[in-house]
Protein backbone atom coordinates (compact mmCIF):
# COMPACT_ATOMS: atom_id res chain seq x y z
CA UNK A 1 0.00 0.00 0.00
CA UNK A 2 1.40 3.34 -1.07
CA UNK A 3 1.66 5.51 2.05
CA UNK A 4 2.22 8.70 0.05
CA UNK A 5 0.43 9.28 -3.24
CA UNK A 6 1.95 11.72 -5.71
CA UNK A 7 0.60 13.35 -8.85
CA UNK A 8 1.03 14.02 -11.66
CA UNK A 9 3.41 11.34 -12.89
CA UNK A 10 4.83 13.75 -15.44
CA UNK A 11 4.60 17.50 -15.95
CA UNK A 12 5.63 19.77 -18.81
CA UNK A 13 5.93 23.48 -18.10
CA UNK A 14 7.16 26.40 -20.14
CA UNK A 15 10.13 28.40 -18.93
CA UNK A 16 8.99 31.05 -16.46
CA UNK A 17 5.83 29.16 -15.58
CA UNK A 18 4.74 27.64 -12.27
CA UNK A 19 5.19 23.91 -11.66
CA UNK A 20 2.84 22.32 -9.13
CA UNK A 21 3.20 18.80 -7.77
CA UNK A 22 0.74 17.34 -5.30
CA UNK A 23 0.97 14.67 -2.62
CA UNK A 24 -1.53 13.09 -0.27
CA UNK A 25 -1.12 10.85 2.77
CA UNK A 26 -3.34 8.89 5.13
CA UNK A 27 -1.27 8.33 8.25
CA UNK A 28 -1.81 11.28 10.62
CA UNK A 29 1.27 10.23 12.60
CA UNK A 30 3.51 11.62 9.87
CA UNK A 31 5.27 14.70 11.22
CA UNK A 32 7.91 15.57 8.64
CA UNK A 33 7.39 16.14 4.92
CA UNK A 34 10.43 16.68 2.68
CA UNK A 35 10.70 17.14 -1.07
CA UNK A 36 13.63 15.70 -2.96
CA UNK A 37 14.97 16.49 -6.44
CA UNK A 38 16.75 13.79 -8.40
CA UNK A 39 18.69 14.09 -11.64
CA UNK A 40 19.39 11.01 -13.79
CA UNK A 41 22.15 8.85 -12.32
CA UNK A 42 22.27 10.83 -9.08
CA UNK A 43 20.92 10.39 -5.58
CA UNK A 44 17.96 12.44 -4.34
CA UNK A 45 18.86 15.90 -3.02
CA UNK A 46 16.77 17.59 -0.35
CA UNK A 47 14.98 20.66 -1.69
CA UNK A 48 12.75 21.84 1.11
CA UNK A 49 10.85 20.31 4.02
CA UNK A 50 7.92 21.22 6.25
CA UNK A 51 6.32 20.15 9.52
CA UNK A 52 2.54 20.03 10.13
CA UNK A 53 2.56 23.03 12.47
CA UNK A 54 2.95 25.46 9.54
CA UNK A 55 0.85 25.82 6.41
CA UNK A 56 3.49 27.16 4.08
CA UNK A 57 7.25 27.34 3.75
CA UNK A 58 9.17 29.21 1.09
CA UNK A 59 12.81 28.93 0.08
CA UNK A 60 13.76 30.91 -2.97
CA UNK A 61 11.61 29.77 -5.91
CA UNK A 62 10.36 26.69 -4.04
CA UNK A 63 7.28 26.74 -1.80
CA UNK A 64 5.57 23.94 0.12
CA UNK A 65 1.88 24.38 0.87
CA UNK A 66 0.54 22.10 3.60
CA UNK A 67 -3.10 21.33 4.35
CA UNK A 68 -3.25 19.26 7.52
CA UNK A 69 -7.03 18.76 7.52
CA UNK A 70 -7.00 17.49 3.94
CA UNK A 71 -3.78 15.51 4.52
CA UNK A 72 -2.27 17.01 1.41
CA UNK A 73 0.85 18.97 0.59
CA UNK A 74 2.23 20.39 -2.59
CA UNK A 75 5.40 21.79 -4.10
CA UNK A 76 5.27 24.97 -6.15
CA UNK A 77 8.22 25.94 -8.32
CA UNK A 78 7.96 29.57 -9.38
CA UNK A 79 9.65 30.90 -12.52
CA UNK A 80 10.49 27.36 -13.62
CA UNK A 81 13.80 27.01 -15.48
CA UNK A 82 15.16 24.32 -17.84
CA UNK A 83 17.68 23.45 -15.10
CA UNK A 84 14.74 22.44 -12.90
CA UNK A 85 14.03 19.52 -15.25
CA UNK A 86 14.36 16.50 -12.97
CA UNK A 87 12.30 13.98 -11.04
CA UNK A 88 10.71 15.27 -7.85
CA UNK A 89 9.72 13.07 -4.92
CA UNK A 90 7.59 13.93 -1.96
CA UNK A 91 8.12 11.94 1.20
CA UNK A 92 6.86 11.63 4.74
CA UNK A 93 8.21 10.26 7.99
CA UNK A 94 7.28 9.90 11.63
CA UNK A 95 9.17 9.33 14.86
CA UNK A 96 8.99 5.80 16.18
CA UNK A 97 9.71 4.44 19.61
CA UNK A 98 13.09 2.79 19.85
CA UNK A 99 14.40 4.63 16.81
CA UNK A 100 16.20 7.90 16.46
CA UNK A 101 14.86 8.75 13.05
CA UNK A 102 11.77 8.05 11.06
CA UNK A 103 12.07 6.12 7.84
CA UNK A 104 11.07 8.00 4.71
CA UNK A 105 8.02 6.91 2.73
CA UNK A 106 8.36 8.23 -0.82
CA UNK A 107 5.82 9.01 -3.49
CA UNK A 108 6.30 7.51 -6.94
CA UNK A 109 7.84 10.68 -8.33
CA UNK A 110 6.99 13.37 -10.88
CA UNK A 111 9.14 13.85 -13.94
CA UNK A 112 9.26 17.59 -14.62
CA UNK A 113 10.31 18.94 -18.00
CA UNK A 114 10.72 22.70 -18.42
CA UNK A 115 10.79 23.84 -22.04
CA UNK A 116 12.97 26.86 -22.88
Amino acid sequence: QQQVKQSPQSLIVQKGGISIINCAYENTAFDYFPWYQQFPGKGPALLIAIRPDVSEKKEGRFTISFNKSAKQFSLHIMDSQPGDSATYFCAASMKRRGSTLGRLYFGRGTQLTVWP
Binding site: G43, P44, G98, S99, T100, L101, Y105, G109
Partner: protein
Protein backbone atom coordinates in the same frame (compact mmCIF):
# COMPACT_ATOMS: atom_id res chain seq x y z
CA UNK B 1 33.01 18.81 3.75
CA UNK B 2 32.44 15.53 1.94
CA UNK B 3 28.87 14.43 1.63
CA UNK B 4 27.63 10.86 1.72
CA UNK B 5 29.86 8.61 -0.33
CA UNK B 6 29.07 5.16 -1.71
CA UNK B 7 31.09 2.48 -3.41
CA UNK B 8 31.20 1.02 -5.91
CA UNK B 9 29.39 3.23 -8.43
CA UNK B 10 28.30 0.35 -10.61
CA UNK B 11 28.24 -3.39 -10.12
CA UNK B 12 27.27 -6.31 -12.32
CA UNK B 13 26.53 -9.69 -10.75
CA UNK B 14 24.85 -12.91 -11.80
CA UNK B 15 21.91 -14.61 -10.17
CA UNK B 16 22.75 -16.45 -6.97
CA UNK B 17 25.83 -14.39 -6.20
CA UNK B 18 26.37 -12.22 -3.16
CA UNK B 19 27.16 -8.51 -3.13
CA UNK B 20 28.42 -5.96 -0.58
CA UNK B 21 27.80 -2.26 -0.96
CA UNK B 22 29.51 0.40 1.15
CA UNK B 23 28.52 3.79 2.52
CA UNK B 24 30.37 6.52 4.39
CA UNK B 25 28.05 9.03 6.05
CA UNK B 26 28.37 12.77 5.95
CA UNK B 27 30.79 14.14 8.53
CA UNK B 28 29.10 14.44 11.93
CA UNK B 29 26.30 12.01 11.04
CA UNK B 30 25.77 8.82 13.01
CA UNK B 31 22.63 7.28 11.52
CA UNK B 32 22.63 5.46 8.20
CA UNK B 33 19.61 4.28 6.23
CA UNK B 34 19.56 2.17 3.07
CA UNK B 35 16.99 2.45 0.29
CA UNK B 36 16.35 0.52 -2.90
CA UNK B 37 15.18 2.47 -5.94
CA UNK B 38 13.87 0.47 -8.88
CA UNK B 39 13.82 2.18 -12.27
CA UNK B 40 11.05 4.76 -12.46
CA UNK B 41 10.05 4.32 -8.81
CA UNK B 42 10.55 6.13 -5.54
CA UNK B 43 13.12 4.82 -3.07
CA UNK B 44 11.96 2.00 -0.78
CA UNK B 45 13.30 1.77 2.76
CA UNK B 46 15.43 -1.31 3.50
CA UNK B 47 16.78 -0.71 7.01
CA UNK B 48 18.38 1.83 9.32
CA UNK B 49 21.45 1.60 11.55
CA UNK B 50 22.30 3.60 14.63
CA UNK B 51 24.92 2.79 17.28
CA UNK B 52 25.87 -0.28 15.22
CA UNK B 53 22.40 -1.81 15.58
CA UNK B 54 19.58 -2.28 13.11
CA UNK B 55 16.82 0.01 14.41
CA UNK B 56 14.14 -0.28 11.74
CA UNK B 57 13.54 -2.61 8.85
CA UNK B 58 11.35 -2.30 5.79
CA UNK B 59 9.61 -5.10 3.94
CA UNK B 60 12.71 -6.83 2.58
CA UNK B 61 13.68 -10.50 2.96
CA UNK B 62 16.47 -11.75 5.19
CA UNK B 63 18.71 -11.97 2.12
CA UNK B 64 19.26 -8.28 2.78
CA UNK B 65 21.51 -7.67 5.76
CA UNK B 66 23.67 -4.85 6.97
CA UNK B 67 26.27 -3.67 9.35
CA UNK B 68 27.42 -0.42 10.88
CA UNK B 69 30.99 0.11 12.01
CA UNK B 70 32.27 2.18 14.96
CA UNK B 71 33.21 4.99 12.54
CA UNK B 72 29.50 5.08 11.47
CA UNK B 73 30.18 3.73 7.98
CA UNK B 74 27.88 0.97 6.84
CA UNK B 75 27.60 -2.03 4.53
CA UNK B 76 24.62 -3.54 2.78
CA UNK B 77 24.89 -7.23 1.91
CA UNK B 78 22.56 -9.05 -0.43
CA UNK B 79 22.76 -12.84 -0.74
CA UNK B 80 21.39 -15.16 -3.40
CA UNK B 81 20.83 -12.34 -5.86
CA UNK B 82 17.68 -12.34 -7.98
CA UNK B 83 17.04 -10.51 -11.23
CA UNK B 84 14.57 -8.33 -9.32
CA UNK B 85 17.35 -7.03 -7.08
CA UNK B 86 18.60 -4.91 -9.97
CA UNK B 87 18.20 -1.34 -8.78
CA UNK B 88 19.92 1.79 -7.53
CA UNK B 89 20.87 1.32 -3.88
CA UNK B 90 20.95 4.54 -1.94
CA UNK B 91 22.50 5.31 1.39
CA UNK B 92 21.26 8.24 3.46
CA UNK B 93 22.80 9.67 6.59
CA UNK B 94 21.53 11.97 9.30
CA UNK B 95 22.79 13.59 12.47
CA UNK B 96 21.76 12.71 16.00
CA UNK B 97 18.11 13.42 16.90
CA UNK B 98 16.11 15.59 16.80
CA UNK B 99 17.52 15.99 13.29
CA UNK B 100 15.13 14.70 10.64
CA UNK B 101 16.99 15.60 7.48
CA UNK B 102 18.43 12.68 5.58
CA UNK B 103 21.14 13.30 3.01
CA UNK B 104 21.52 10.82 0.19
CA UNK B 105 24.61 9.55 -1.52
CA UNK B 106 24.90 9.09 -5.29
CA UNK B 107 23.95 5.43 -5.04
CA UNK B 108 25.30 2.15 -6.35
CA UNK B 109 23.74 0.84 -9.55
CA UNK B 110 23.44 -2.96 -9.22
CA UNK B 111 22.65 -5.04 -12.28
CA UNK B 112 21.87 -8.72 -11.82
CA UNK B 113 22.14 -10.85 -14.97
Amino acid sequence: DAGVTQSPTHLIKTRGQQVTLRCSPKSGHDTVSWYQQALGQGPQFIFQYYEEEERQRGNFPDRFSGHQFPNYSSELNVNALLLGDSALYLCASSAAPPADTQYFGPGTRLTVL
